[in-house]
């Protein structure tokens, strides 16, 4: 049979395809419906947090940081409760990472604060003298892309039924509403910060990347 296949490339290719396609069906599909169900009380990201998530992606923090706490006592002691599938229901894409050059960040919002992040992102060595994490000073002057974050929120709301604009949930509304809400949120964060340039930008209705990023960090709980 194999000799025959080797003389008939079409059937050879079909054979290979069948052999390799099979595993995905058996291993991936059975869990699809269940894994995407959110845990009770999970709220979608606000527009500012989404913009922060974009900064996290753009500056590629995933190169060094995971967001997945494994069920070991050593990890729950260090980072808090082990991660649950339903907590990631609104993560597109998932950001678990595959390398921990730095610590896990899945619940960083529980044990770090705005002012600490401000110091740390400006100069990690100022808080952790032996840190090998780069400083991200440019985030203090680059402006975050709120509009794209809004586009993302609208997309997931409409296509994937992510619950925006529901009672007691996260409001989205029109682009003007969303922008105003993001600014209000940014002002609260900037109030807890010390960098004058950041404060000035926010006072002028501009949101630096660092503010969005900190909003995202604080949301991770």
């Amino acid at each position: 049979m194999f000799h025959w296949l080797e003389k008939n490339p079409f059937f050879f290719a079909v054979g290979v395809f069948l052999v390799i396609a099979f595993a995905g069906l058996v291993e991936i599909l059975p869990n699809f419906g269940e894994a995407s169900r959110p845990v009770v009380g999970l709220k979608p990201y606000t527009v500012l947090e989404l913009a922060g998530k974009e900064v996290y992606k753009k500056d590629n923090c995933i190169a060094c940081h995971s967001q997945l706490i494994r069920p070991f006592k050593s990890e729950t002691d260090r980072y808090g409760q082990y991660s649950l599938s339903g907590e990631y229901a609104y993560d597109r894409p998932f950001l678990w990472g595959s390398k921990r050059t730095g610590p896990d960040l899945h619940r960083i919002g529980n044990y770090r604060s705005t002012d600490w992040h401000e110091n740390h992102m400006w100069d990690p060595k100022s808080v952790i003298p032996q840190s090998i994490m780069p400083a991200y000073k440019h985030q203090f002057s680059n402006i975050a892309d709120i509009e794209t974050a809004y586009a993302e929120a609208v997309t997931v709301k409409e296509l994937f039924n992510t619950p925006y604009d529901v009672d007691g949930g996260v409001a989205l509304g029109s682009w003007e509403d969303a922008r105003a809400a993001a600014l209000a949120e940014a002002k609260e964060i900037a109030a807890d910060m010390k960098n004058q340039d950041v404060k000035d930008l926010v006072a002028n209705d501009q949101i630096p990347e660092i503010v969005a990023l900190i909003a995202y960090m604080n949301k991770l709980k």
């Binding site: 006592k73 044990y111 770090r112 604060s113 705005t114 002012d115 600490w116 808080v127």
Partner: protein, 293 residues
Amino acid sequence: MNSLMIKALAFSAVLMGATIFVVKYMNVDLSDPVNLITMLGAAAIAFLTFGVAAKYINQMKTDKAEGELTDDNWDGIGEYKNELPGGWAYSFLGTIIWAMWYWTVGYPVNAYSQIGEYNKEVKAYNAQFQEMHKNADADTLQAMGESIFLVQCAPCHGETADGLSGKAQDLTARMAKDQILDVIAKGSNQLGFPMGAMPAGMASGADAEAIADYIVGGMQGQAPAAYATCAACHGADGQGMNGMSPNITKYDEKIVTQVLANGKKGMIGKMPSFNNRLTPVQEKALATYLQSL
């Protein structure tokens, strides 16, 4: 054994030796099952790869190519009809049988659950340590507190607890003057003391300055008259009237547990709450350690 094989095994042994030396140096407990299995796995990788490769490479020296050629020839490349190497074929068959056994018998019979295993791990831990430390003495608590502090608190307060030049509270002293002035001006309501909130503006101007100087100075000598306002809640000695309000002279156990439970946002910044992240023994240990500074 041929020289190639000896070299291969020696290299593997050196690699494993170095690995074990380094982890031992870091005080790792190799009797822990996970650590042990990992070490055995690492040894298997090294010895099998270099051993088997050395075996076949050595055959380049000692053996000769032979066998019956197939009729095919591609661009000058021929092909022998040799049988499968026995070791390979039996290992392949072995792993397939093992896989089927494991999947159908070994695995579902044990009905494994990783969360179940986690719960078991936590229970075993509690059995070992929680009980043991229930009545720990002060020295134990202090040493324990230091080790927790270095992991949980040092990222903000610094390894020496000095607050990293004003980035968090300097825990080697109580509050600084400007912090006290800030609290006097703004009041405070976040630490969850029985007395509840401290109102804003209990003193101002020169009075406030005098109070702050007095407190920072360790409450030595004659208290300024204005301190009487404060004494109503914090006591004449500033010790917080048995936990009704914060002790403003030094860190005692009450203030540490209240801060850990509620977090604190002050003029330096915000400290998150450690609610549910630490056990009561750990909190006590931290308090003991902070008092020793």
